[in-house]
């Protein structure tokens, strides 16, 4: 097995046992990134990575290392990284050198991890295919004609192709879970407020949440340990103690109550995907879990609810991109209005403009009650469905995406792509933690199993996922040639 196929946990052990140095590890990954043709990276930070690797080797030599010292990783290009370009996949921020670190970046620096670069993504995280990126689409390593999903498509493709041992992602409507599913890796969206949003470029502030994209649940637990926690710089961060997410990975899941929402197995779900998901559920049954049918009756309204709430929030968040203080400014503006208008029109891509306009329409006088307020009320109903379900079950299971990875360019109209988000949006609207884990293959492409837990039950989700990964090897399978 090549060094690049090792998990984070195995690399930690390898560094500790001096099987390789952190510099060697970093050079190995940088070489893989540079020879890859997936377009998974927007920026490669090789000089910084090697300097951080040398520092990490010193720390290890002096026995001053922490849990993840010297582990290489990549950041989704939505996390501000001091002195390094942070584009959010947009022409608007193509020249933006972040003047400070996001809290997630700060924490990983403090723990002496090694940043290899910044990964490609849908522009401002708006998209499910990675095709809205200013830097072009990312290719799925399982089939390069296919999309890796989005918006964290670069992070997911990079982990799947073993260009990095783990990557960060963000999930506003499924942007960690869906690309993880389509690329055959493990992705965790924690409870809203678990990880600081400070310095994470905002798309929809009441929905955005960062999380790890890894090979295994054990790795996700290790990374979550490193980045979770209260942050006074984020007013929506939860003041709640961080547990050791690795502590309960080996707990038995005998007696676990799994709920299968009938709305997640309805029309539109690919038969082969449904088969893989149900086979995975049977594995849990064989481990002593109890499966029951449940209903989340309002989850079918998740798409219209999300596609009002998220654009409303983004229309406000993206108003700061005005060509005045940072980012793109048009050439020779003739007056202030022209500066705003042309900077934003030339700087934003089509999908971002569409969502800004929908948001401004839904928030404008005369339409607020009918759209935004209505959506916020339905959001309450969607959340209440889960509250009711969690009185009798421990975890919701179902598909992540209705299909396996789709062809690049397959979706020509925006609404048809929105419809594919049906299974992931509800967890964001409710603020619940969700995961995607590799569950098998259909048509030669990976299929993810989605698990949604109750608030703050990340440990439970990681435990369930880890137990599944002890008796299956889907998470160990890689695209050809790796």
């Amino acid at each position: 097995m090549g060094i690049h196929n090792k998990t984070v946990a195995e690399l930690v052990q390898g560094l500790k046992n001096k099987e390789f140095s952190c510099v060697e590890l970093t050079q190995n990954y940088l070489q893989r990134i540079k020879t890859s043709n997936l377009n998974a990276f927007i920026t490669i930070t090789d000089e910084l990575a090697l300097a951080q690797a040398r520092d990490a080797d010193e720390k290890i030599a002096k026995n001053q290392s922490g849990a993840l010292t010297g582990i290489p990783y990549a950041h989704k290009d939505i996390f501000c990284t001091n002195g390094i370009k942070t584009s959010a996949g947009s022409k608007m921020l193509d020249n933006f050198i972040a003047p400070y670190d996001a809290t997630v970046s700060y924490k990983l620096n403090q723990q002496h991890l090694v940043m290899l670069g910044k990964t490609n993504m849908d522009e401002f995280a708006m998209g499910s295919s990675n095709e809205s990126s200013f830097y072009g689409a990312v290719k799925n390593p399982w089939n390069q004609n296919k999309s890796p999903g989005g918006s964290s498509g670069g992070s997911a493709a990079a982990v799947a192709a073993r260009l990095v041992p783990f990557a960060t992602g963000t999930d506003t409507g499924g942007s960690i879970r869906q690309p993880s599913s389509l690329c055959g890796i493990t992705g965790l969206k924690p409870t809203y407020g678990r990880i600081s949003r400070y310095g994470m470029i905002a798309y929809a502030s009441s929905l955005d949440q960062a999380g790890p994209i890894t090979q295994t649940a054990q790795d996700a637990a290790l990374v979550l340990n490193a980045i979770a926690g209260f942050d006074e710089k984020d007013s929506t961060s939860a003041r709640r103690e961080v547990e050791d997410y690795t502590a309960t990975l080996n707990d038995s899941i005998k007696g676990l109550k799994i709920g299968l929402p009938r709305e997640f197995f309805s029309e539109g779900l690919d038969d082969d995907v449904a088969r893989v998901v149900m086979t995975a559920v049977k594995v849990f049954e064989s481990m002593g879990a109890i499966v029951q049918d449940i209903s989340l009756p309002n989850s079918k309204f998740a798409i219209p609810t999300y596609y009002i709430v998220a654009p409303c929030e983004c229309s406000s968040n993206l108003s700061r991109m005005d060509g005045v203080r940072f980012g793109y400014r048009c050439e020779n503006p003739k007056d202030l209005e022209d500066l705003y208008l042309r900077s934003r029109t030339e700087g934003f891509g089509a999908e971002v403009k569409r969502r800004i306009m929908i948001g401004n329409y839904a928030l404008s006088a005369g339409y607020y009650d009918a759209y935004y307020l209505k959506a916020q009320k339905v959001r309450h109903l969607i959340s209440d469905d889960f509250k009711k379900a969690f009185k009798t079950i421990d975890v919701v299971m179902g598909p992540v995406s209705p299909t396996t990875a789709f062809d690049l360019g397959a979706f020509t109209d925006p609404v048809s792509m929105y419809l594919a988000d049906i299974y992931t949006l509800s967890a964001n609207l409710a603020g619940l933690p969700g995961m995607s884990i590799p569950a098998g293959f259909a048509q030669g492409l990976p299929v993810g199993l989605q698990m949604i837990g109750n608030y703050w039950h990340e440990s439970k989700l990681l435990n369930i996922a880890h137990q599944f990964q002890q008796i299956t090897d889907y998470h160990r399978q890689t695209p050809d040639g790796l």
Partner: protein
């Protein structure tokens, strides 16, 4: 449904311009999204309170004390145009 006049108004509010050639397709895209949103009108939400925050948190209060240093030079170093510690834009008032 969004008509041409409304599309102009939304674009104006958004500080975006829509090309004449893309006017129809833009209006069509937005109307398709609003048609999707119309599904929400089927649900009776008379007694439901809107959900503004997933954890129903309220804004935290803190002591009013200075913690951050002034980084204006660093922040202005990435601005498109500055002068005398101000962000410069085209003249608004002669």
């Amino acid at each position: 449904m969004i008509d041409n006049a409304q599309l102009k108004q939304i674009a104006h509010l958004s500080k975006l311009s829509v090309d004449d050639s893309a006017f129809e397709s833009s209006a069509q895209d937005l109307n398709n999204i609003l048609a999707l949103a119309q599904q929400l009108s089927q649900i009776n939400t008379d007694e439901i309170t809107p959900m503004a925050h997933p954890l129903h948190m309220t804004q935290r209060l803190r002591e009013d004390e200075v913690k951050e240093q002034n980084h204006s030079n660093r922040f202005q170093s990435i601005a498109p145009k500055t002068g005398n510690q101000h962000y410069l834009v085209p003249t608004v008032i002669e």
